[in-house]
């Protein structure tokens, strides 16, 4: 893990992936509200290192975000 997490006294570790486990949210390219939680203010996809999404779900999430982008539900670049 990167050093930044060790040095900060405030532990910001999210326990688990928000998409895995029971009653998890389904990843859907139409669900703009959920997807917009995982893009930055510029519209870039936030890395899993920060959101603690599991590897497999991060790939599905990225695919869903890219589909939403082609449908103009999410921007490519946001100003």
């Amino acid at each position: 893990m990167s050093d930044e997490f060790k040095k900060k006294p405030f532990f910001r570790r999210r326990k688990s992936c928000p998409f895995s486990g029971k009653d998890a949210i389904k990843i859907d390219y139409k669900d703009v509200r959920t997807l917009s939680r995982f893009i930055s203010e510029r519209g870039k996809i936030v890395p899993a290192r920060i959101t603690s999404v599991s590897n497999k779900k991060q790939r599905e999430l990225a695919k869903a975000i890219k589909r939403a982008r082609t449908l103009a539900l999410l921007p490519f670049v946001q100003n």
Binding site: Y29, K30, S36, R42
Partner: protein
């Protein structure tokens, strides 16, 4: 028969009735090829996240389709010929979604264009606003971890 989710976007200066007739024409083509429309949704005139052919808003229509590929391809071909259709997307899915889609649910719950409600996520409290020009993280320069896990 395979399941597909199909979304198409039309120009905003069409009226809702015109969009409806367009939808019916396309469904007719699909049915002629032996396909079934499991669900049809009109998402309304939405603002686009970016301009498509200089349009800032557009009509969105979604189908859930159960059909052979040939019928879907024929419908898409006709859609591409239509000048009013701006964009088409067809996705093959393993199972069709029951009930209203996420867009219809968020419309009925009344928040419109609720894309970035918070400027600062709780993840970034002590770091300040995200700066995209910061450059690569200095992971390679960090000393070896003492086994601290995520």
């Amino acid at each position: 028969m395979s399941f597909y989710e199909h979304v198409f976007i039309t120009r905003p200066d069409l009226t809702e009735a015109q969009v409806k007739t367009m939808t019916e024409d396309f469904t007719k083509i699909l049915k002629k090829g032996g396909g079934k429309i499991a669900k049809e949704e009109y998402w309304g005139l939405r603002s686009l996240a970016y301009q498509i052919k200089k349009n800032k808003k557009a009509h969105y229509v979604m189908f859930n389709i159960d059909s052979e590929h040939a019928a879907v391809a024929e419908m898409e071909r006709n859609q591409r010929l239509d000048d009013n259709v701006l964009r088409i997307m067809t996705i093959r899915v393993d199972e069709l979604e029951e009930g209203p889609s996420a867009i219809m649910k968020s419309k009925s719950s009344g928040d419109y264009d609720d894309r970035r409600p918070r400027k600062f996520d709780n993840k970034r409290d002590d770091r300040g606003p995200r700066r995209d020009d910061r450059g690569p993280k200095r992971d390679d320069k960090a000393p070896a971890d003492k086994g601290e896990d995520k």
